[in-house]
Symmetry: C2
Subunit: 483 residues, 2 copies
């Protein structure tokens, strides 16, 4: 059978299974595997067991619960949920091996937060074709997609064209505690991750609501805390206003010199680190399914700095940014208070893009802030603290892993996917790409409006079912690709 014919056959079985696949997702959504709260920890573990059982049912081998020890949560000492490892070994030699990462934990949800339906019950809205429920799109729908497609292969009697290694964690929504260490150890021991050729994560979203995309980059982050202190205690502005150097006046001077209202970063040397734009890359922004209105809808306002689509997309995806987040130690409540705060800590962060690194950024920011501070001539004391940084990530989209995903998307959706980069940071993506040293692909199933961390989270049935087909098609295109 040709690749195309095989994909068609698998897809038609997935279509026939539709009700069962929705039922499977419903079963998973009903387990409130909220990782951020101690009281739900048993349910997170229950969900790990549900995953293991499902993986077993489709013929996975070597299913392991990797324990990560304990954590302090809500004043209790609770066990971390296990990372679930599993192998799907396909028959025949010379097949590629893919690492599949996903997470089985979810964000908190209460009906009283503003949900129209019970968050931990999958509700099928027939009119819109949407499935509402916590975890439907983040990330239970996508990880069950893998189970669904393997099941369809087994029902069709078609052997999987690649080997798969699953790594499903239960702490993604709560900082992926323990995961980095586990992956590093496994690499060192040369065991589970041995022989992986490339990796795939389905844990992000289409850029908009109509056109599929494939994601090959993420911005990094470097967070700073800028402390300015002087007086021994908070002072009364009547008695001391005009008399002393006020830490707030100093802080506003320094922080206002970091970035312009038009988003221009004023720190010398930052823009030199940004990889130049090529025509090929610019073309990607031009063809992306996105409008200024989409951005306005997302921000609930008309406040974009640029007025054209390409500049807006590039601002999010390929340029650094600097945001001022707030001040610790100053008056922050409603009302009026005539205080001169004795010590204030300004918080700001930069989003990093290639070839910026946290180290280089810290060096440039430190140098600039100290030089501006000297100009100010205040008798107060300044201290700049850099938090642990996160590097940007950018994969080569000309790699066979991407070529396979692009062809698979074209087969299932009949359209060439947008090749996007995301403005945010997904630390686990960086860990996997960095530690493995293999090409990583982000292959989203859901849409921009799924409301991942929000109320009324949903996945469209179309995205769930076509997404399941897409994962299957991707495996066959990977097998067909010349590496």
């Amino acid at each position: 059978m040709s690749t195309a014919a095989t994909i068609d056959k698998i897809s038609s079985i997935i279509d026939q299974n539709k009700d069962a696949l929705i039922a499977r997702l419903a079963e998973a959504v009903e387990i409130p595997s909220v990782s951020g709260s101690a009281k739900y920890r048993p349910q997170v573990v229950e969900m790990a067991k549900w995953m293991a059982k499902s993986l077993e049912s489709i013929g996975c081998e070597n299913i392991q619960f990797k324990e990560l020890g304990n954590q302090k949560l809500d004043g209790q000492d609770v066990g971390l949920p296990p990372v679930v490892f599993a192998d799907y070994k396909s028959g025949g030699a010379g097949k590629k091996t893919l690492l599949i990462y996903g997470h089985y934990d979810v964000q908190p949800a209460n009906k009283s937060d503003g949900w129209n339906t019970e968050p931990f019950k999958l509700v099928h809205d027939e009119k819109t074709g949407r499935l509402y429920g916590r975890g439907s799109t983040d990330d239970k729908g996508p990880i069950i997609g893998w189970i669904n497609t393997i099941e369809a292969h087994r029902q069709a009697g078609i052997e999987l064209p690649v080997n798969l290694k699953f790594c499903f964690e239960g702490m993604e929504e709560s900082g992926s505690v323990g995961l980095d260490g586990l992956i590093e150890n496994e690499i060192k021991n040369g065991s589970f991750f041995d022989g992986v050729d490339a990796a795939c994560i389905s844990d992000n979203y289409w850029l908009g609501t109509k056109k599929p995309c494939i994601t090959h980059g993420l911005r990094g982050i470097q967070y700073f805390k800028l402390s300015i202190s002087g007086p021994g205690a908070d002072l009364h502005s009547g008695l001391f206003g005009g008399v002393v150097h006020e830490p707030m006046s100093d802080l506003f001077q320094i922080m206002s010199r970091l970035v312009t209202p038009a988003g221009e970063i004023l720190i010398p040397g930052i823009s030199d680190l940004v990889r130049p734009l090529t025509d090929e890359e610019f073309n990607r922004y031009q063809i992306m399914d996105f409008t200024v209105k989409d951005m306005d809808d997302a921000t609930g306002s008309s406040t974009t700095i640029a007025d054209d689509k390409e500049k807006i997309l590039m601002a999010r995806m390929r340029y650094p940014s600097l945001s001022l987040h707030g001040i610790e130690g100053a008056f922050s409540e409603a009302g009026t208070k005539t205080v001169i705060p004795a010590k204030v800590i300004g918080k700001f962060s930069l989003r990093l893009v290639p070839d910026m690194t946290p180290d280089k950024v810290v060096e440039l920011v430190e140098k600039y802030v100290q030089s501006e501070w000297k100009k100010i001539g205040s008798k107060n004391t300044l201290k700049l603290d850099a938090e642990p940084g996160g590097k940007p990530w950018l994969a080569d989209p000309n790699h066979w892993n991407y070529e396979a995903a692009i062809r698979a998307t074209e087969k299932i959706y009949g359209v060439k996917p947008d090749l996007t980069r995301e403005g945010g940071s997904i630390p686990v993506a960086l860990t996997i790409a960095d530690i493995l040293g293999k090409n990583l692909l982000l292959l989203p199933l859901g849409r921009a409006d799924d409301g991942a961390h929000s109320t009324n989270e949903k996945i469209d049935i179309l995205n769930y079912i076509e997404g399941t087909k897409l994962l299957g098609a991707y495996l066959h295109e990977v097998a067909a690709a010349t590496s």
Copy 2:
């Protein structure tokens, strides 16, 4: 008897009464007349009755409890403590009439706040000669000083050389609720305040700890709230950093353009409103008992903008200042958060000096902020709100009221008092000066280190006893002065 001989005689009686005067203050301190808490309201009223009884015992007439209605406090509807009015009518025609204001309520105090002794028990520290207790200096010591001196006159058989009108309130520490309205009404009705020639308030402190002072000015205040809003909700800086005009970047630009780190106000027109410095005034700063070290001790740091005494004193007393207090709506906790706040409200205030008025300042600030806002070119929305302002107050120190106080101080302390202005605002002073239209004098009894609103509040016995003498001497010097 000459004025000097009379003052000597009264003073010697006050010395003889020393133990009784301390006992009287102890009695008052033991009534916890905390106006800021509903549970102490009966004690505030008890203190009003104690005042009335004391005023009666020294021969006051027309003692009235002026009721001010109710207030909401700690979720309860409680009655406001009365303002106590009383007349002391001296025999003989042609005598001047002074209005004496003071307050019988106190700040909260708990031993657990860091007091070394029970706050509502007057503790005599023999070694230091200090009397510790809540209200000892603010303002029970001073108001009892008036009772003490009249008592001494009666014991000496010396008639008071002036008529007195007492106005003692019980809400000074809690915003003087209802007082303005009462005074205005009384003026309209032409009753209690009829015939007042000048006023005196003993409710502030020496500039330092060694030399007495007399205070003839206070700065006013104009508070602003600067709102900048744009996005419909808080945004994630990964997804939207660099894409939208961030309200925080805009706010830092505007607020950093209000004042320099050296305290220079950047709003055009403000400095033109400041009354020029005369040689006579400058000389007052030169002779003031104050050092840079005193200011460093007060701020717990070495952060004065100026390095000489006169500039420091003028910055507090005779120049305006602008302080940035904080931001409402931004991230203000410890830790890190990568938020782009959707709406932020910057808080800042100016301290006003003659001839600035709140209206003129609001006009200049509004004009400047709007013009800077246009330069910024942001798509966000700016709104500037001005709170109700307070005018500065400045009395003519060449008035007989001041001349009398200066001579009295020289008699009692053997030194010419510093003629100071205060950096803060005392709203009731402005009300009395404004509504009465008469010269007002601030005649402090306590010292700078009394810790008025703090733990371990104290008054030195020297200040209490010599202060009582000072009040008596002042009355005689008023009578002797040519008006």
